[in-house]
Point group: C2
Chain length 358, copies 2
């Protein structure tokens, strides 16, 4: 029986994609080889690779002025690469610290450039995003780094900062689940393992003029221009995630693209928040209602014992991955792109039954 | 029909591994999910991850004093990470430039530390390795970087430099096809996509004391201690290559491990070199016979037209990937671990027939 996968990532992939991958695994496209065995310079692989880039450009409406790069190391690697490539030694940039990912973007990135916290949500336990008048943005900053969704805290950036400073966004956990206002960004990145593909790389959208003029010298793998000039084929690329992502994106496009995924995400999250809000305090959302995440619904029960019971009983009912992050406790239902409404309905029913039984 | 895959990488994987992966792809271990969908913190994935590390330690006879790390970005990423972690600003290190990979280790690494060419094979077109008396090694060097096998030139390091300077080796293209003399090394690395797994990471063996004291400050993903302290689970690891590699290593172990693979590799390469040497000059090996690669057999035919004809006719006969690297031309038969003797026999027969027909 297929599990209802509420894990925070890696996460569910469309079942028909998995079935297609399995069917093609020993012989891709009549080559007599697995895609895993193809040369990355072969015509068959190149068609997959360039096809995935093209589909991504269409689905995310990526303007011509942006390169689309596949870079290994996930978002964690981008914490280093962004300042290495964008921030000259004489410059500074700001980071909105909205949770654990923003914290890492600041601390990791500070090893490679002068970063400043534009705001830090520590005082409220990272349960909200900054109001416009709380942000201290210096017009001289090279960029302002935002995290569009914090997976652990369970909050999303709804209103983006009003500033002329170019934005850089980590969108790992709501990638392509919302439109990207391209003219505000110099760079958008995210690990693919939540909404798009198996773990093993980040997709980086970078303004071509930015990629072409790195702020610091560095070895090839750490340079956006290396990846841009080679269409991410400068060394052996992570062929498998690229191939699977191509299939996932085709499904996404068939189902209405980013706008439709955004609607589905809002509907899925809305159903869970509704159970929480209608539970007379049995379930409780600890975050600012205005910035509730549509990807990671964080909630508490009256006691930690009940929370442990809830997670365990849910797992017995095939609802997997509902334990909150170890750093904050509680429960969390992650509702990434490939998690369908029937899984949400199963969760909603279970939550209602569990509440009735306790 | 299964192709005979002589590609230079990514390369063949054992067919029974591919079949097992395909069979497990939609439901791993009764979880109701694909391995691709599991949390990297789940018990099921953790067993795979730690199991692969343990198998690797056994198969490669890795001493306790070394960490085993899985790091994305392939060998190209290691060209940066080695000097960042091992080479303080006041120190220098040497690089043996034995071909295109040695060249990249030097040029890329030089962006992050003071590297010096210990020898450069450019004068002989990278067709041989340095003799002992040709090497200029400074006893003060922090390390000496060697490439154990050059895939494009088709040469291998047979005798390692005699020096007290710790060695660092790029073994991408003959990984686990020869024993590693651990006490001579501070670090051994290689992309996995030739002998071990699908593309998407390097395996890095690093002396624990070296990993624990990085020579420079850097963001987490660029630090060996980050990966070492988390058993390569500090961020979402490349789960799929790690999982497949576990299966490949089990097969390798069942078939006698590194020593047996070394013997099989010598036998496979020996059979192809024999056809070359017995061809009355029709086939010609351009490299120093003393350092002929056992992984990449490079050879020429009398004319470029014949070479093109050879490669095309071979492909019609299901012998794939025999074209030499675009930078040097000619032909190349790569004989990585999962390429079996029946493929070599098919190649040998074809080479004899082709010669007889021309």
């Amino acid at each position: 029986m297929r599990a209802h996968n509420f894990g925070a990532g890696p996460c569910a992939l469309p079942l028909d994609v998995l079935e297609e991958v399995a069917a093609e695994l020993t012989d891709f496209n009549g080559t007599g080889m697995s895609l895993l065995e193809l040369s990355h310079r072969s015509k068959d692989y190149e068609a997959v690779h360039m096809g995935t880039i093209e589909t991504l450009r269409r689905v995310a409406a990526v303007p011509d002025g942006f390169d689309i790069l596949f870079i290994q190391g996930g978002a964690t690697m981008q914490f280093a690469m962004v300042p290495i490539n964008l921030l000259a030694p004489s410059e500074r940039a700001g980071v909105i610290v909205s949770g654990s990912w923003g914290k890492k973007a600041l601390s990791d990135g500070s090893k490679h450039g002068h970063l400043v916290a534009a705001w830090d949500g520590v005082a409220t336990g990272y349960t909200t995003m900054p109001a416009a008048d709380e942000l201290g943005i210096d017009a001289d900053w090279r960029y302002l780094h935002v995290t569009t969704n914090e997976t652990i805290g369970g909050i999303r950036m709804v209103d983006f900062p009003e500033t002329d400073v170019p934005l850089v966004a980590d969108m790992s956990s709501d990638y392509l689940a919302r439109p990207i206002e391209w003219d505000r960004y110099d760079l958008v990145y995210g690990g693919v393992q939540k909404n798009l593909a198996p773990a093993g790389m980040a997709v980086v959208f970078v303004r071509k003029s930015v990629a072409a003029s790195p702020a610091n010298d560095a070895a090839n793998y750490l340079r956006y221009d290396f990846h841009a000039n080679s269409s991410s084929l400068g060394n052996t690329p992570p062929m498998f995630p690229i191939y699977v992502m191509g299939k996932v994106l085709e499904r996404l496009e068939e189902r209405g693209g980013v706008a439709a995924l955004e609607e589905r995400s809002a509907a899925k999250a809305g159903a869970v928040y509704e159970v929480i809000d209608d539970s007379d305090g049995f379930y409780r959302s600890p975050v600012d209602p205005a910035v509730r995440s549509q990807m990671n619904v964080v909630f508490r029960l009256p006691t930690e014992e009940l929370e442990a019971n809830f997670v365990a009983t849910a797992a017995e009912n095939n609802l997997i991955g509902l334990k909150g992050h170890r750093s904050v406790g509680g429960c969390r239902a992650s509702l990434y792109a490939a998690l369908e409404m029937d899984s949400v309905e199963a969760l909603v029913s279970f939550m209602e039954e569990f509440r009735a039984g306790h």
